[in-house]
């Protein structure tokens, strides 16, 4: 009894194996083996930071491309792209590592709170209803759409202040949070050694007086920083200063002259007064 079942199953198995082998030969899809090799060295986060629909799609694009110009994996950085270049026999394009910053100070005691929101805790939903619980219509809503979008655990909401905090060591600069934020508060900036960073931590485009009333640390567009900057890195458009991350040399002169403290310097050693 047992023997017959073993026999029958073995025969079925053998017949199926032979059938499948020939079917595989007939319907085989020819694929460049290098796609698999490239995918192997990619980080596999499927974050979409490269502009492709996941790592496999990016690998396909790399294999098809004649040069790696414009193709960059922000998560893996230069090292990964060098490996990809090695597989494909192409020179990896130069890329600058980036890191996300939050352009709003969102410390609740610095901006008057005018209302209380009790709807679904989602920035996009809140955004369609009103501009936020504070007076500043440009400010961070604080429901963490960016935190949910981050696949690397680099973002968190500070329990103390309610503001969004970026862990620069974990951030890969993929830009998911930039796309997720309905208020356009997140920005990708050049990653400096020791995670040093200088930027305008504000997105308020109102005139100085109104901006100041909305928030004590708002950029009022006074242009003092523009005059101070020796590298022509700072521009003021729509009453809002912006520091070009590629031109900035971290001299910190603009930080000292900013009357509202909207320009912040992060991870610098403390200056002794």
């Amino acid at each position: 009894m047992v023997l017959s079942s073993v026999l029958v199953l073995t025969i079925i198995g053998l017949v199926s194996a032979v059938l499948l082998y020939f079917l595989l030969q007939k319907f085989k899809v020819e694929e460049d083996p290098r796609i698999d090799q490239v995918q192997e060295v990619l980080p596999g986060a499927n974050c979409g930071g490269c502009g492709s629909a996941g790592c496999r799609n990016f690998a396909e694009r790399c294999v098809k491309a004649d040069s790696l110009e414009g193709l960059n994996c922000p998560v893996g950085g230069a090292e990964t792209m060098k490996k990809v270049g090695g597989i494909l026999g192409l020179a990896a394009a130069e890329s600058t590592p980036m890191v996300a910053v939050v352009k709003c100070q969102t410390v609740c005691n610095e901006r008057p709170v005018t209302s209380k929101y009790d709807g679904a805790l989602n920035c996009h939903i809140s955004q369609t209803l009103f501009t936020g619980e504070s007076t500043c219509p440009y400010s961070c809503l604080g429901y963490g759409d960016c935190v949910n979008a981050c696949k690397f655990g680099a973002l968190s909401i500070s329990p103390k202040t309610g503001s969004i905090v970026v862990d620069p060591d974990k951030c890969t600069g993929c830009g998911s949070c930039v796309k997720a934020c309905p208020k356009h508060i997140m920005e990708l900036r050049k990653k400096w050694p020791k995670n040093r960073q200088i930027y305008v931590k504000c997105t308020n485009e109102d005139k100085g007086g109104i901006a100041r009333k909305d928030c004590a640390t708002a950029c009022i567009g006074c242009s003092k920083c523009v005059k101070e900057c020796q590298f022509e890195a700072i521009t003021v458009t729509n009453n809002l200063a912006h520091i070009d991350t590629m031109k900035c040399r971290l001299c910190r002169k603009c930080v000292a002259v900013c009357p509202t403290g909207a320009i912040v310097a992060e991870n610098f050693p403390k200056i002794n007064n």
Binding site: T114, S115, D118, G119, A120, N122, H124, I125, T128, L129, F130, T131, G132, T135, P137
Partner: protein, 447 residues
């Protein structure tokens, strides 16, 4: 009694101000008139700072085909043309006018005398409606002249007048029917003439018995020379005032998914719009005033008000006795579809229909629990959708699936969230998904 077939809910109607006649809010010292009081392109300014304007004068011309003109509601000097934040912090282009006296533009009849005869041709009527900046005053603010010029393949046979007012607390349409019944009837005749048809149905919910009887008593006077106007009482059910629901309730016709309501052969106009059409065509008076209900269970002196466009809402609320203690939410519009406001220092405009002040206990949202798959939201949805599923899809960003489940059919009435025993924010997520799906569809069509 007639009503729509699918779904619907029965919120307590709380029509506490139904017996309170309109009161006029005095003209303020300064008005802020938004230039985007309608769906479509904002109006383009046609005056300059320092200009003297009279009440009823055009200050903004339509900025496109789907757009409406904007008029000064007062006489005075233009002080500023600037972006102004509304009650939700959103910027709107506005014209700020300092009031000097109350002088109306020549040719505008501000008296209460009834003008019955209208000798104008349909084209002239449409031109007058366009020039008077008339938009749907039921809340959507869709330019009326566009609605009166349906696509050629839609054969219109019925005009439906939406006098349902199914939102709880709101009574200004009810008062308008009682106080301006004759004017509304003339307005209906004008609209019928513009559309080139004879048949009109006025749909009124059955909690407004006095209005139904008043309008019915007027019918013999106005059903002359072939006009066939009818007043139909409707069974109480929210959202009866929805365009698609009302067409179904009154004619039994169903607006198919993705089709415009005019495809059923019916054009729906709000009763306040009909009155505005009467004033524009017979009296040359553009929309310069709006009716507003200020209500709430604890409000000292709730009532219905008429105020000039651009007057801060706080002026009407002050006349109603101010904000009572223990108010949890100030809602612009009705409690079902309105939005709660951050402050009242925002100008009244064509979009404003009511200020409802809810108690803290009424206003608070319940604790969100898990979905128990009871299906109450599915039962309540007047469009036959599955809100629990759509909200989950929106939350998980499954927009393709949401599109297949016809999320774009949602009319955002809030029946799902109202009926949910787990207090889930169903509509919040469905609305988010709807907006995303609509933008995806739009970008696909543009390709």
């Amino acid at each position: 009694m007639k009503t729509f077939r699918l779904g619907g809910v029965h919120p307590h109607d709380n029509k506490i101000t139904a017996a309170v006649p309109f009161r006029k809010v005095p003209v303020p010292e300064e008005v802020t008139i938004p230039l985007d009081q309608h769906i479509g392109a904002p109006a383009t300014v046609c005056i300059a700072v320092g200009d003297k304007v009279k009440a009823g004068q055009t200050i903004g011309n339509p900025g496109g085909f789907v757009s409406a003109a904007v008029h000064s509601s007062v006489s005075g000097t233009v002080k500023r043309i600037d972006r102004v934040r509304d009650a939700w912090g959103v910027y709107h282009p506005c014209v700020i006018i300092t009031v000097e006296g109350d002088e109306w533009l020549e040719g505008i009849d501000t008296s209460d005398t009834l003008v019955k005869e209208c000798a104008l041709e349909p084209k002239e009527i449409l031109d007058k409606i366009t020039a008077s900046g008339i938009v749907g005053l039921g809340g959507a603010c869709f330019p009326t002249q566009v609605k009166l010029m349906p696509p050629k393949d839609c054969k219109i046979d019925t005009l439906i007048v939406n006098a349902v007012e199914c939102e709880p607390y709101l009574t200004h349409n009810h008062r308008l029917m009682l106080e301006k019944g004759d004017e509304i009837m003339v307005g209906v005749q004008i609209l019928l003439k513009a559309l080139g048809i004879k048949k009109a149905i006025i749909g009124v919910e059955n909690n407004k018995r006095d209005a139904i009887e008043h309008l019915q008593s007027l019918l013999p006077t106005y059903n002359i020379s072939g006009y066939d106007i009818e007043v139909t009482p409707l069974k109480l059910k929210y959202p009866q005032g929805g365009e698609k629901q009302l067409i179904q309730a009154l004619t039994g016709r169903v607006v198919r998914s993705g089709a415009i309501p005019a495809a059923t052969g019916a054009v729906v106009q709000n009763v306040a719009t009909v009155f505005a059409v009467y004033e524009a065509v017979q009296k040359n008076k553009p929309i310069t005033e709006i009716a507003l209900t200020v209500s709430g269970k604890r409000v000292a002196n709730p009532g219905n008000f008429i105020l000039r466009i651009g007057t801060p809402l706080s002026a009407a609320v002050d006349m109603a006795g101010g904000i009572p203690d223990g108010t949890g939410k100030l809602i612009c519009g009705g409690p079902m579809m309105g939005r709660s406001m951050v402050h009242l220092n925002t100008p009244a405009n064509k979009r404003t229909s009511a200020v409802v002040m809810l108690d803290e206990s009424e206003a608070v949202r319940g604790k969100v629990e898990n979905c128990i798959r009871c299906g109450k939201c599915v039962e309540a949805c007047p469009m036959g959708l599955e809100p629990y599923l759509l909200s989950k899809m929106s939350k998980m960003e499954m927009y393709d699936e949401a599109e297949q489940h016809q999320i774009f059919d949602c009319i955002e009435c809030g029946c799902c969230a109202f009926s949910c025993p787990s207090n889930r924010p169903l509509l919040d997520y469905v609305r988010l998904g709807k907006a995303q799906v609509m933008s995806i569809m739009k970008s696909r069509n543009n390709k």
